[in-house]
Each structure stands twice: as C-alpha cells, then as structure tokens.
C-alpha cells in the first residue's frame, strides 16, 4: 500500500504554479550577461543551463517541481563535435568557389540549403536533450524516434502548407506534434497527442483570413501604383521598402496571437497515458510580453542609432586614422565588443520579457488531470542514452 502524502493526495485535478520572480530571474541574467560579452558569446552554454535550471525548478505541476539535469559542458562538447562535423564542409565549399567561377553560386547557395535541414534536425535533437534531462517526481522524461523521420515529415508538410497558403497548417502541426508526443515518455508512460486539426483551424481561421485580406489589399494597392512606380526607380524602391516594413509589422503583430492559439491547443491535446492538461490563459496576457519586447527593441534601435550617428560624426573624424596601429586595434576590439553587447542585450530582453512571462503564464494557468496515475509509473531501465541530442542542443533551438 502506498501511503500518499499531503501534496499529492486526491490530485485527480490539480494546477500548476510558478514560484519564480522577475527580480530573481533578472539577477541571474545580469551576471551572465557580462560574462557573455567578455567571452564573446562563449558563455552561452552556461547561460542556457542557468536559465533552464531556474525556470524548471520554479515550475510546480500538481505540487511537484521539475528538475533540469543538463550540464553546460555537455552542450559545449556538442558544439565542438558540431564544428568537427561541419568544418570539412566549409572547406569544400571554399574550394568549389576557387576552382571555377560557375561553382561560386553553388558554394554560396549550398550552405543556405544546408542550414534548413540542420535547423530541423537540430530542433528535434535539442528537444531530445531537454526531455532526457528533465525529471518530474523522480521520473525521467525521454524522447525516442528519429530526427531524420521528423525532418522528412517537416519537408513534406512545408511544401503542402506553402501550396495551401497556410490553410493546411493545423494538419501539419497536428501530425508533427503526434510524432513528437508519441516518441515522448514520462518514465514508462508513453505520450500522445489528440488534437483535432479542425479545432485549430476553427480557432485560427479568422486571424488567417485577416492576414490574407491584408496581404491581398497591399498587393492590390501596389499593383494599381505599378505604372507610376515603373517610371521612377527611386520611388519604386521606396515602395518596396514600405511594403516590406508593413509586412514585418503585420507579422510581429499577428505572431503572438497565432502562437497563443497554437500553445493552448497543443497543451490541451497533450497526453501521458491518462494524464491530460489544459490551459486557459487570455490571448491579451500572452500578447503583453511581446509588446514589451518590441518596445525594448525600438528603444535599443533608437539608442544604437543615436550613438552610431554621434560616433560617426563626432568621434571618428577626430581619430588619427591611418597613423596609429594602436588606435585601430582598439577600434576593432570596440567593434567586436559592441557587436556582442548588442546581441546579448537583444537576447536578454527576449529572455526577460517573452520567455519568462509566457512561461509563467502557461505554468500558472495549467490544469492537470490524473497526476495520481504517475504513482504507478516507473523509470525504464537501461536509460543510459540520455546524453543523446547534445549536438542538436548546442544549436540551442526551440524554447521549451
């Protein structure tokens, strides 16, 4: 007879709770931020690990927190392996571009074409690493399945979704989620995914229609102005820039809504045996962190723009360029540090707003049914392969 203690008693229905605070999280980020800039980004593996440790440990589901057991040096090792694998390819592409002028195009396009499969494979492997290093109630999660099979599915669905202008997305997403969840285990309990594509389509149809109409309207406006634009190439260029900016604003504006709908649908369709989940956060509360992030980015853009203008007009003309090597080396060092400082600020602004707040919102609004069934779950034996996926994990793809 298992005597069940207070926090898990009669937990047929229970909730999630997030114990983290913004101030604690910020303290972790600040310390890491400086290290990240000084090490020219090399500290990122430790940052990732620190952030995950914090978010996992502060997330309580039905009275029990999650544990993240990954180690930064494993990610570093994965990164080094990745370099060893990819390095010969980089040399081959360079050789192509020397030997013949015709091959230059290949040498330039091939890496781009390679990045996509690499990103998809890396995503699946990174998910494997995260799950294999997540523990709940003394039970290990793990992911099986093949990254290549997942990649083939993604390729196929990408074509279909593109051809149908996104209408097939719910089916694509459902199929991919089913693949991922069926290959996900909590202890010996296999995961599952029961989401209905029609359901997601119903939830997302109106936003989809709105986007399509806006795109169509933009193209029509552009089409009617075509004749005028053809005469003045400068104006045409301006118009293209304006349209691209407009599309960017639309994408940024709609993305949080889209993601909120997909996340609610995904969580509601996840299963671990009899265990089911639901979440009912409001789209607006999901949207707010994105607005904050966009605001920070606007501020950063303005500050960097002003600083750049001041440096270009006031400081650089006064420097003895072409006279002192020391001044120039200092300049290069400043440039490199500025690059990493800006990249770090962008990344941490995202972590502090979107990552933290959406995570908190999801955990706090989580409803869980049937957690008591985990009492009977067991860790599968022979689970030594949990280091798998660290190469993909080194790419640091996928947030959750």
């Amino acid at each position: 007879m298992a005597a069940v203690c207070a926090p898990t008693e009669a937990l047929a229905e229970s909730r999630g709770h997030f114990y983290g605070t913004k101030s604690e999280y910020r303290r972790i980020l600040w310390g890491d931020m400086i290290a990240l800039v000084i090490t020219l980004g090399f500290y990122r593996f430790w940052v990732t690990t620190n952030i995950r440790r914090y978010l996992w440990s502060r997330s309580e589901i039905a009275g029990e927190q999650l544990d993240y057991t990954g180690e930064a040096h494993e990610l570093l090792l994965g990164f080094l392996v990745l370099i060893v694998v990819l390095a010969p390819l980089a040399v081959i592409f360079a050789l192509f571009s020397w030997i013949s002028a015709e091959y230059i195009a290949i040498a330039q396009i091939a890496p781009m074409l390679l990045l996509y499969p690499l990103a998809v494979l890396g995503f699946y492997q990174a998910r494997r690493y995260r799950l294999n290093h997540t523990v709940f109630r003394g039970l290990r999660f793990r992911q099986t399945g093949s990254a290549w099979m997942y990649f083939l599915r993604v390729m196929l669905w990408t074509v279909i979704v593109t051809v149908t202008l996104g209408l097939a997305y719910p089916w694509a997403r459902g199929n991919l989620e089913r693949y991922k969840m069926r290959h996900t285990y909590c202890g010996d309990i296999q995961g599952g995914f029961v989401g209905s594509a029609w359901d997601l389509l119903k939830r997302g149809f109106l936003p989809w229609l709105a986007v399509m109409l806006l795109v169509l309207a933009t193209l029509m406006v552009l089409g009617s102005a075509d004749a005028e634009l053809e005469e003045d190439p400068n104006q045409a260029l301006g118009a293209v820039a304006l349209v691209l900016l407009w599309f960017l604003i639309m994408a940024l504006g709609f993305y949080p809504v889209f993601r909120a709908k997909v996340v609610r649908w995904r969580i509601g369709s996840m299963r671990f045996g009899p265990l089911s989940f639901a979440t009912n956060f409001s789209t607006w509360r999901f949207y707010k962190p994105y607005l904050k992030f966009y605001g920070w980015m606007l501020l950063l853009g303005t500050v960097v723009g002003i600083l750049n203008a001041v440096i270009q007009s006031q400081i650089i003309p006064k420097l003895p360029i072409g006279e002192s090597i020391a001044v120039e080396i200092t300049g290069i060092v400043c440039l490199v540090i500025a690059y990493f400082a800006i990249a770090t600020i962008i990344s941490f602004a995202f972590q502090g707003t979107v990552r933290f707040e959406t995570w908190r919102l999801i955990v706090d609004s989580l409803q869980v049914r049937g957690v008591d069934r985990l009492e009977r779950a067991q860790n599968s034996t022979g689970h030594a392969a949990h280091r798998k996926g660290r190469i993909g994990a080194a790419l640091n793809l996928g947030g959750f």
């Binding site: 000084i38 430790w46 544990d67 057991t69 020397w98 030997i99 002028a101 523990v135 109630r137």
Partner: protein, 380 residues
C-alpha cells in the same frame, strides 16, 4: 540525539513516481530516509548529496555524480536549515561556487581567444607555406584560371578586356611588351611558364595569379616613365610567383575564415564583425608578402643589370599622382592602416632605395620600342 536531528520530508525513490512521506534522520555520515509506508529505508551518504535548485523556502536534494534521479525535499524551513548546516551547504556558498565557475569560464575563453589570434598571426602563414607545395600544379592552374576570368569580368563593358590584339599599333605594343618580359622571366627560373596579359583598365595595378598568370594593367604602363620602371613592376609580380604568394594567400585566408568563424560558432553565417577580424589578420599577411615581392623585384632587376631603384621612382610618382587626382575612395578620407593590403608606397620606395644601386646599366628596350609598348592599348 538532538530533537532537530529528525524531520519529515517528501521522497521519490527514482524508480517509481510514487511520493513517499518520509522521516529523515541525520546520522554521523549519512541521511537515513525512513518511509512511513512499507518501503525499505534508504541511506544517503553526505558526500554524495547535492543541493538542487528549488523555490525559496524548500530544500531539495539529489545525488551528485550519479545517474540516480531520487529526490528528497524538505519543506519545513527550520529542519531544512538544520540539514543544510549538517551538509555544509549554504546559500552564499553555492553562489560563490557559481561565481568561481564563471570566472574560470571567462579565463579559459580569454586563453582561447589569445590562442586563436596567435594561430591566426603566426601559425597559419606557416601552415599555408607548408601546404602550398602539396597543391598539385594542375589544381593551382585551375584556381588561377578561375580567378583570372573573374577579374577580367569586372572590367567588361562591351569592349575586349585584353590589349595587344586590336590593330597594328596594339600588336606592335604587345611585341615590345613581350620582348621586355622575355628578358625578365628566365631570370626567375620558374618551374612553369608565365602567361602575361595586358588588361585594358586605367586602374594602376598589376597582379600575379596562381598557375603563372600575370596581369599588367594599362594604368601602370602609362604611369611608368621607363622600361626599367615597368621591369621593376614585373619583377615584383614574378617574386609573388616564385614564393607562390597567391596560393598561400588563398590557403591563409581559408584557414583564417575557418578558424575565426568556427571558433565563434558561426559556421556558415559569418557576420561582418568576424569578417573584419579576418581581414585585419589577412592584410597583415599580404603586407609581409608585398615586402618580400619588392625585395625579389630589386634582386631580379639588379641581377640582369638594369636600374633596380626604378620601381621607387614609380611609387613616388604614384603618390604625387594620387595627391593631384585622388580617386573617389581616397577623397572619402584616409584609409585605416589595418585595412591596407599593401605597405604605404613611400615606405616601399624608401626600402627599395636602401638597397645598393647597380653600376653598369644596360637598356632593356630601344626608345621606339618603349614608345610602341606604351600604345599597347590604343586600339588601331
């Protein structure tokens, strides 16, 4: 035993997902975990215990250096304090360890950056020099042919790019050029024949490609005031060929790009800031190559008995010309020293003048031949 040495906790044995209510007893060298159900007690030696991250007010323990995922959680703050004291664990200590860890990573990274730069500055040119002889001639010729075509494509605007083939005057100019060239090439004793081309562009330049292809631009022919000055230029380019600078430069550049972008983790998407670093290091190498080629040019011209200081006149004239008629790029402002692929022209001229002059001079071309050579790109 003191009363605090015992308390309640929540326990997961790492085998099943069952939550056990347990009594924890602090023994001499281990924690004794006694479940209130029929499950067997467990003993956790202090030396194997690790504190895990948990919400404030909770003490969560697991095993360090172990595959076990057993967990013990104390939620009573008073007892948690006692256990921590017993284990020698404390908040500030953990933080200090984290800081030490961070400092270590920073130090190692600083070392790695220094190593990468050292390899980039001294190691790679050496490696490129060692690898260059291993590249087959056929492959070098192919690389050179591709670069030759690419360079010509830059000047293409409908007109033929090479001079010396359009009309009598061009052919006469070409013949004179060849006569001058043929007096220089044998002195270089290259293992492969050199194919010189006169390129129809006013850009003041000449270049040596892998596989024995040489470009001499119309611009530099018109800048030269004597056959000896032009011979100085050709001697310099032959120096590049003798030292296989072009191929070594390719190898060096490849190595640098490889080293810097890979070390930075940007495998295919080299960002401009790394390209800037690569350029600075690559330029450092080409400046050294140019000095070497200058030395060779002086040596070669002295050996065949012509004015080995003539190239210095050319560089000084080049500087005067640029002051009178600066290019668009020069009008924009001074160039950074680190961005120069060549040493400063006056510095080069001074280095050439510092060498001993040649006593008995002989003419390379007759005056009419020299005048004909200057018209090699005149198109009739």
């Amino acid at each position: 035993m003191a009363p605090q040495a015992q308390g309640v906790a929540l326990y997961f044995d790492g085998v099943t997902g069952t939550a056990h209510a347990v009594t924890v007893t602090l023994e001499e060298s281990a924690l004794l975990v006694t479940p209130s159900d029929a499950t067997a007690p467990a003993r956790w030696p202090y030396s194997t215990i690790e504190r895990l991250p948990a919400p404030p007010g909770r003490l969560r323990l697991g095993f360090a250096y172990s595959e076990s995922v057993a967990r013990l959680e104390v939620r009573d703050p008073a007892f948690a304090g006692v256990v921590m004291q017993h284990l020698g664990l404390g908040g500030p200590q953990g933080l200090a360890q984290e800081r030490r860890h961070r400092r270590l990573v920073i130090l190692w990274t600083a070392g790695a950056i220094a190593a990468v730069l050292t390899i980039g500055i001294t190691g790679l040119p050496t490696v490129a020099g060692l690898l260059a002889p291993l590249v087959p001639q056929a492959m070098e010729a192919k690389i050179g042919a591709a670069a030759h075509q690419q360079t010509l494509a830059q000047y293409k605007d409908g007109a033929p790019v090479l001079c010396g083939d359009e009309g009598e005057r061009e052919r006469a100019g070409r013949a004179a050029f060849q006569k001058l060239f043929d007096q220089l090439e044998p002195a270089a004793r290259l293992p492969i024949p050199v194919r010189p081309f006169v390129v129809r562009t006013t850009t003041i330049n000449a270049s040596a490609f892998p596989g024995g292809i040489m470009h001499v631009n119309q611009g530099i022919i018109l800048l030269a005031n004597s056959p000896d000055e032009l011979a100085g230029v050709i001697g310099h380019e032959l120096g590049h060929m003798v030292h296989r600078h072009s191929l070594r430069g390719y190898l060096h550049n490849l190595g640098l790009t490889y080293l810097i972008t890979l070390a930075a983790g940007e495998v295919f998407t080299g960002s401009s800031v790394f390209i800037a670093v690569v350029d600075v290091l690559a330029n450092r190498n080409t400046r050294a190559q140019e000095r070497q080629a200058d030395d060779y040019g002086v040596d070669l011209t002295a050996r065949i008995g012509i004015d080995s200081h003539a190239a210095a006149n050319l560089w000084e004239r080049y500087v005067r010309r640029m002051r009178e008629k600066p290019t668009e790029e020069e009008k924009a402002g001074p160039r950074a020293l680190l961005s120069n692929t060549h040493p400063a022209p006056l510095e080069r001229a001074a280095a050439i003048r510092a060498t001993p002059p040649v006593a008995n001079l002989r003419p390379l071309l007759a005056e009419e031949e020299w005048q004909a050579l200057r018209l090699v790109c005149s198109r009739n």
